[in-house]
Structures are given as structure tokens and as C-alpha cells.
Assembly symmetry: C2
Homo-oligomer: 219 residues x 2
């Protein structure tokens, strides 16, 4: 089954971490669903020790929740929590974009346009997981130019928390067309318009919140 495990050099616990993390982001764990140490260990053909380390790390990063009895489960998203995390994104991400602006060049904006067009493909095919991953990839590519690892780490920790839920939201929406704030942001990047760039990022993040609100109302 896991014949696709070409892990060379990297520690076992790190590999388990990445594997489990990918599963969480990809929606492989339903909210509230628990993951057992022995189950994870035997499934990945490792011992309990690295499995436990991977789980604890994801708990520390809030990608997993700890039940009172000490079991790790995929966290349930609430409207309030999602709204908080969105506000944090709305505050931090424009700052990262502005920091990236002076370091942007034509090659970057071309790369961003390429990533953005791939998003259209994922929307068209209804691949919500690929869309969420690609969306994070696009934002990460831009913010990488900010050379701000500490800020970046904060934002990525938010993505880790909202990712599984956003995947669910986009899954419900199907192939609905979305306002392309990415394109606006890239245009602002090209023209060096700081305020427009920040506003486009904010609008993009806020659009995610609106989509989620609809999903919450549906149930």
C-alpha cells in the first residue's frame, strides 16, 4: 500500500508528520475523527514512538485537537474560530504582500499568473483539495519574496488550521466561479501599487470567509 514511501535521510517521525499532515490538509480525516497511535504506527509500518511525536507536533500546531482523555482528533471548525483565523489572515497577509512588493519582478508575476491559471483548472475539475493546496502555493510563492520567515510561519500555521475546512467548503461549492482577486493582486504587483495589492489580498481572504459563511448556514 505505502509502496510510495521513498523516504531517504529524513527521520521517521518527520516523515510520519508530513504524511499525516498531508492527509489532514487533504481532508483524509473527518472533523472529530480520532487518530490512534497504534493505528498510525502499524499502518505506516513504524513504531509508536515516531507516530506519537508526529501526532504531538500536529497537536502543538493545532492541526489536531487533544480530547480530555488524551486522544488526538481532527478539530471541528466553528464559525467563530474561522472568523478569528480569517481576521488574522486579513491582518498578516497584506503585510507580507507589501513586504514582497519591492522584491517582485516580472518572473515572479509570470509564475503567479501560471499558478493562478492552474487554480482555474482545479475549479473546473472540481478538485477542492488541489484548489486549496494550489491557492496556498500561490500565496506562499508571493510571500516568499517578503523574506520574512517568522511572519510566514505564523501565516502557514493559520493555513494549516483552516485548510481542511476550506477544502470542505470548496468541495460543497463545486465549480462555482469566484471573483479573481488573485489577478487583481498580480496586476497591483506589476504596477507597484502597494495599497491596491493589500486590498486585493484582503478581499481574497474575505471572499473565503463569505464562502464559508454560506457553508455554515447550509449546516
Amino acid at each position: 500500500m505505502n509502496a510510495s514511501t521513498p523516504r531517504a535521510g529524513i527521520p521517521t517521525h518527520d516523515w510520519v508528520y508530513r504524511t499525516l499532515r498531508r492527509r489532514i490538509m487533504g481532508g483524509g480525516l473527518a472533523p472529530g475523527e480520532a487518530v490512534t497511535l497504534r493505528g498510525l504506527a502499524t499502518e505506516l509500518s513504524v513504531s509508536m514512538t515516531p507516530a506519537r511525536e508526529a501526532v504531538r507536533r500536529l497537536v502543538a500546531e493545532r492541526a489536531l485537537e487533544m480530547t480530555p482523555t488524551g486522544r488526538a482528533a481532527a478539530p471541528r471548525m466553528t464559525r467563530d474560530r474561522f472568523e478569528e483565523l480569517t481576521q488574522a489572515r486579513e491582518l498578516l497577509e497584506p503585510a507580507l504582500a507589501i513586504r514582497a512588493l519591492p522584491n517582485a519582478d516580472k518572473m515572479l508575476s509570470n509564475r503567479l499568473k501560471e499558478l493562478n491559471s492552474q487554480l482555474d483548472t482545479h475549479i473546473a475539475s472540481g478538485d477542492a483539495a488541489a484548489y486549496v493546496a494550489g491557492n496556498a502555493d500561490l500565496h506562499a510563492t508571493l510571500y516568499a519574496r517578503a523574506n520574512a520567515p517568522a511572519l510566514m510561519a505564523l501565516v502557514e500555521s493559520i493555513w494549516l488550521q483552516t485548510g481542511p475546512f476550506m477544502r470542505l467548503v470548496y468541495g460543497r461549492l463545486g465549480t462555482q466561479s469566484l471573483a479573481d482577486y488573485h489577478a487583481i493582486a498580480i496586476a497591483a504587483l506589476d504596477s507597484g501599487d502597494e495599497a491596491a495589492l493589500a486590498e486585493a489580498i484582503r478581499a481574497d481572504v474575505r471572499q473565503g470567509l463569505n464562502l464559508a459563511e454560506d457553508a455554515f448556514q447550509q449546516g
Copy 2:
């Protein structure tokens, strides 16, 4: 030595985590200084397993750094990193304060005034560790009224990263008098002035940055 360890009910790894975390925040670990699993384990009279979990958790929370060879050490603060973390605080903390504002009452502001006066005591006695802890306590008390646990967790993770360094900064400064933006913030809280509250918080955070800049220039 560790006779003061009345841990009842809480898991060992959690107790080790809290103990080590307190040590880091209190400056018990010099930047770059490594902590060994066996050393920590034997010192706290526990096995390597909970020691390892505690260390890994602190690494995940960026309160400890991982060297390429897999050893955990207290992270070194750079000017750039501190500037990034300060900007994050400057963005997130005013938002938390504004969220807390509608839930504030006379009892809260009295409590905050009390905590703020304790800070003066710590400045006067030159107890940098107590000052940093008390400062975090004051901010936390205000933000708790925001009922925003996800945002709060983000801010606390920043404090965890900046805490040890701030303690060092305040330690150098000695009993220097600081502008009391806390008092301004509390006044804004009492009068319900949202903009003034946010600005006072920003100024408070920025003051920390300025102090640190001085420290960086000294060496």
C-alpha cells in the same frame, strides 16, 4: 532540588513542558544553549520519553530551535526576526483589544490598573523576568475579554518567541522609566475610545521594538 514539584494528575510530559517553558521564558537558557534529552530527563527525574515530547512541543512552538543534527537549543534572536514578530504583534494585538472593548467593565480596568502598578514595582526592583511575565499577564488579561481563543493562541505563540529576548532587553535597561502606554490604553478602555485603544497598544508594542533596537546597537 526539585522538591517544588507538586504535580498532581497532569501528565509527566506536560509538566516537563511547562517546567522547561518557564525556564526558557525566564531566561534560564542562554540563546544558542542546547538542552539534551538525557540531561533534562535525569534532572527532572523522568524518563527520556516525556522529556523528548516536551522538547519537541517547544520546537513546534518555536520556543526552541532544532539544529541540523537534531539537537534542541534556545533560538538566537536577530534584528530581522524581532522586527517581524513585532509587526505581527502590532497587527494582531490591537484587533484583540478592540474585540475586548465591548466586553470591558470597571472591574476589568481596575484589575488592569492593579497589574500595571505591579509592573512599576518590577521596574523599580529591576526584575526583568517578572516585568516581562507581568507585562504578558496584563495584555493577556485584557485580550481574554475578546473571547477569541484562536487569535489569542497566535499572539501567545509570538510572546513565547519574543519573551526570552525581551527579558534580556529589559535586563540591560535596568530601572529606566518607560512611557506608560498601558495607562493610556486603560483610559481609552474606560472611555470606550476604540481608535485610541488600538493606537495605545500599537505604541506599547512599538516601544518594545525601540528598546530592542538600542540593545541590538549596543551589541
